[in-house]
């Protein structure tokens, strides 16, 4: 299954969720491909020790802008490969505008031939609803929308739903929402209210599993590793573990 992890709202935990799901699945013995399509390249910088030496032709830049096969790199996590991103990806919208081909399907065209080698593909999306996110959705079976506490965060769901429906109508009829994941939950009234509003508005589509705010996650990223490797007993590691069980990937 190919899953896009998305939200237009910045800083809600898209990269964290992508890395953690990929690592969790890899540790279960599954073959996983993590695709970083955000020009910040946060997933790439955590999982590829030699990321700074990688040229743009060896990143997803080559696939999106030059329609070349996906450059796949092994990572230190058992079973997990990665297609890294590149800062020049931020020029994609500009480049794709005048493309004559199906610009929404550049990722899909290169993913389809290799997807069979993996049990799961996870796509870490940028905090925008640009051609990159449209490419990710066109290549995906499901979208996992990440929401953290707050007014802006809840408000962002409307727009991502519109984008999901547009891609489903025009480019990928089988695209479905996997669910809404509530992250960075804390003990404040604001967090509880946010979760309540989310559950009232979207009921069955909200995962039962909640990811707590847990500084171990940030520490894991500083150490360029995933939370299972950094501290498997961390509250957030256990929560992501139960999310994997809930999604039954």
């Amino acid at each position: 299954m190919t899953i896009s992890v998305a939200s237009q709202k910045g800083g809600v935990g898209k990269t964290t969720t992508s890395i953690t799901l990929a690592a969790g699945l890899g540790r279960q013995g599954k073959r996983v491909l993590l695709i970083d399509i955000d020009s910040q390249a946060n997933s790439s910088k955590v999982l590829l020790a030699d990321y700074p030496q990688i040229s743009k032709d060896n990143t997803i830049f080559a696939t999106i802008l030059e329609r070349k096969p996906l450059p796949v790199h092994p990572t230190a996590i058992p079973g997990v490969d990665l297609v890294p991103s590149h800062i020049l990806l931020s020029n994609t919208d500009i480049e794709l505008t005048t493309a004559k081909d199906h610009r929404e399907a550049r990722l899909k065209a290169q993913l389809d031939p290799i997807a069979g080698q993996y049990d799961h593909v996870i796509i870490d999306c940028p905090p925008t609803l640009s051609w990159l996110t449209i490419n990710a959705f066109t290549a995906s079976d499901k979208v996992l929308v990440v929401v953290s506490p707050g007014y802006f965060e809840l408000d962002s769901i409307n727009q991502i739903n519109k984008t999901l429906h547009e891609v489903k109508e025009y480019f990928n009829p089988s695209l479905e929402l996997l669910g809404y994941l509530f992250t960075m939950s804390d003990s404040t009234i604001n967090s509880r209210t946010s979760l309540q509003i989310l559950r009232q508005s979207y009921t069955s589509q909200v995962f039962n599993t909640i990811i707590p705010r847990n500084t171990d996650i940030r520490d894991a990223h500083f150490n360029k590793t995933d939370i299972f490797n950094y501290n498997p007993h961390a509250l957030s590691a256990k929560a992501y573990q139960s999310l994997l069980e809930e999604i039954r990937l």
Copy 2:
């Protein structure tokens, strides 16, 4: 003075800082224009009660895509006007690509004629380094870069510096960094380490004022108001107050 509040990293506090600085200056009796150039329109939704009824022709969409004058709306905060954003702004990169004019200066062209009516102009930027951020930087005197604790957040400074220097070289020679604002500071080792790294790397350019993580901020946004109006005694309100004194606007 015109200040862009920016970072490619999502969720670091750009919108919060923009709203709070504008509100703080307004309460000091200054005339302030807040420009929302992020298609999420978070600043707009907090400060304009009638935002949902506003058509795209009455937002910055008209300025950026149709080169019309900036639509200025009064807000409930004394002295603060707002130019709202619109979701269709997310198509800007696509639209501006084939523009024959100076596409980096569409905002500047319409801001210059009215900037004199205000003591300060603040621009809330999106979490991307696209034509919208380039327009904001081209129209600005200074850039305030927001950083919250974490590896991704610290890493994002390199790229925003590159964009600042590119705009300075090609479009706006007088553009300068105002400084780095550390926000959402908490009592974790990770937060202390992040601040230490920031201060070691950028020393004199880091504001002395630190903004603490403080749930009152999120509550203020839920109540569609600024922190000074919601709880002037909140830790974060006092911190933003001391930031205003430190910047001496």
